[in-house]
């Protein structure tokens, strides 16, 4: 349970372009945004629309070309320096020479938290990897790797949790299971979370708010609040409200395509 309310994330005029000076390609158009502390926001958009770039900007892994990002009264860099944020990467980014336990423990040691074998094995149990502590990433399935990566991201008890398509490479069944099992973990912890995904159902199922992005450069095509009760069990997922929200997001996605393409020209 959060001890104090998490601060909001504020983006003011944030944009990002890549490429050599004079030949910049815009990836994120100037954005103004406010993400509520303690909430889970999903960034949804077609492949390559710049949603991962937006996430990396919030993580402080990329510098914005213009504008400013604040988390409360801190910058992303301040947060990183306090090891108060963590990222679950798209490709898991597990170090191949460390075991599962070693990779999860790395989440603590990189965050300068004291060693705690108990906490590590508890996390491993929570993500359902008990019995695989001593395995190397190469010996795990894709789903198991993502579980390990999420356990590692949780290991430092972050205030800000950034999930970059963590289930993107998984099959539908595995994805569904992880969607069901993992959210209680971070909900319990109460971190402000940002999830990048291209799955509409996943976005609706996991988040409190969905930002639908247009293709490059990323603009906000729609801002949809997900007003569904938690936990989002089978009843919720089978409800009309769930389907309706999904339809809303899908429609926004379809609409978002056209102006985005125009803007790029």
């Amino acid at each position: 349970m959060p001890d104090e309310p998490r601060p909001d994330i504020r983006l003011t005029g944030v944009s990002k372009s890549f490429g050599a000076p004079g030949r910049e390609v815009p990836a994120v158009a100037p954005l103004d945004l406010r993400l509520a502390g303690g909430s889970m926001t999903a960034l949804v958009g077609p492949s390559g629309c710049g949603k991962s770039t937006l996430l990396r900007l919030i993580a402080g892994l990329e510098r914005p070309s213009s504008g400013e990002i604040r988390i409360g009264d801190e910058s992303p860099d301040d947060l990183r320096k306090r090891a108060a944020l963590s990222v679950a990467f798209q490709d898991a980014a597990l170090l191949p020479w460390r075991t599962v336990a070693g990779n999860v423990a790395l989440g603590r040691s990189l965050a300068r938290r004291p060693r705690d074998a108990g906490a590590v094995s508890e996390l491993i149990e929570l993500v359902g990897l008990s019995g695989f502590e001593a395995q190397r990433p190469a010996e795990l399935s894709g789903g198991m790797r993502q579980r390990a990566a999420i356990a590692r991201a949780m290991a430092s008890a972050p205030e800000l949790l950034l999930l970059d398509e963590p289930f993107g490479a998984l099959d539908e069944l595995t994805r569904d299971r992880l969607n069901a099992e993992l959210p209680p973990l971070w909900e319990a912890h109460g971190a402000t979370s940002v999830l990048v995904t291209h799955s509409v159902a996943e976005a609706v199922r996991l988040s409190d708010r969905i930002l639908v992005l247009t293709p490059r450069p990323a603009r906000i095509a729609a801002d949809i609040a997900v007003d569904l009760p938690r936990p989002r069990d089978a009843v919720v997922l089978g409800s009309e409200a769930f389907r309706e929200t999904c339809g809303q997001v899908s429609a926004a996605l379809r609409e978002g395509q056209a102006p985005g393409r125009l803007a790029a020209q």
């Binding site: 990396r56 993580a59 402080g60 892994l61 860099d77 947060l79 990183r80 320096k81 306090r82 090891a83 944020l85 963590s86 990222v87 990467f89 798209q90 490709d91 980014a93 170090l95 191949p96 020479w97 790395l106 990189l110 965050a111 190469a138 430092s156 950034l162």
Partner: protein
Amino acid sequence: MSGALALRGARLPGGGLIGSVLAVAVWEIVARLTAQSFFIAAPSAILLHMTEHAGLLWRALGVTLWAAFRGFVWGNLAGVLMALLVVLLPRGERLISTLALLVFCLPLVATGPILRVLYGPGDGPQVTLAALAVYYTTFLPVLVGLRAAPQGWFDLVRSYGRGRMVALREVRLPAALPYLVAGLQIAAPAAFLGAMVGEFTGAERGLGVLTVRALRALDLPATWSIAVITSAVSVLAFAAVGWAGRRLDLAPPQVLLAAPGQARRSAWQGPGEALLALGVTLALWKGTMELFALPRFFAKRPEDVWAYMVSGPGAEAHRAKLFAAMGETLAFAAPGYLAGLALGAGLAVALTLAPRAAAFTMPVAIALRSIPIVATAPLIVWALGRGAAGTIAVVAVMIFFPTLVACLHGLARTPRAVLDLFEVYAAGRWRRMLGAQLPAMLPAFFASARMAIPAAILAVTTAEWLATGRGVGALMATVASTSDYGMLWSAIALIGLAAVLAHGAVVALERVVLARTNAEQLAR
């Protein structure tokens, strides 16, 4: 250079024992039939010599191994530290790489006497020459390994607000470990040979001393015993490092050799860096000699070389002599270099097209790599004569093996999906080779072309010194024996310059070709 990977295929196939027995029998018969020519010692004679002189050989082996071991440690330490320095100071890469290449190109005729004077009696020169023989081939792969981690791993470290040192400890160093093992594998035989050659600078005992003695005494069993011991030690050292690497359970390196660093940012930066490298080289050259107060008589400073070659009396004659010798050397080195590269790449292609042949070829190739150039050069020259063919063959043999292994590695890295695509359209082996595998091989090919430059220089000068008596190699040996150290140092400077220029040319060609075929290699 695929390290641990390559040796796995090296185990003799099932009928190996019978094959080996047959080979030894043929060897024995040929040796006995040609006994009059004093060229091949029979296995029985070698065995007899080894048993009769077991004590002497063991002691000599111990002495040389001990020097080689220390050189191995120091040289690899230096190689790793240089690679770390480049990673921590990326701007210094060109400078450090150039200096590393130049020092690696220093010929024994120059370093031998200086080391002997610096160290006085003892085995300091042997240890140093062993270290010099290994640092470069460790520096290059370790540098690649330190950079071989995907961006995501560095992002992981950064996302916790940790800096370069943590990235080094948690990501770069572990990622470089398999590359280090591959480098150490190449280094192990090289250190041993370096220590042996180091004994040529004046030593009381060791296998190098015994080699010189045996060659002069026309003592064939002794010469061949030492050659057998040397080869055995080299192969064992190679295998031992590979075994240790496998015990560490390291994944084999992904790309052992990568394209050189980032593209230049502006037009003047290239010449600027070149000038800086030149300046630092000259300063180090002079500074080291002054620091150790080496007499000018044999330790010529840059200004002495300038006077000798440009401003002093007789400079024109000196230039004419040196350039003529250099021309002769290049006339042999260039075809040998190209032939070696073509042979290595060609054999790699052939072995990939006919994989079954690889099981028989690789053990021979590994054994060949472990045998010293000083031993093979006279053999090749004996077989091919003292003319152009012999020298070109020596150079080609010297560089063909590393090229072969690197190219095999590159071919094996063709993405599975691309191969499947060719499979789907039922493309033939040749079509697949041309369309998919050859482009995948190019980065490894160019990397070995860069590494082959100092190897080719070493080979051609050695062959000239030992066999043909022409070119810069012979000139350096001659002038060293007549104390003409001005010419010796001018030759060293010219060789160093040629090496750097050749290296630069290969890098430029590499960039042009890879930009078309393997753009992703240049991105990082």
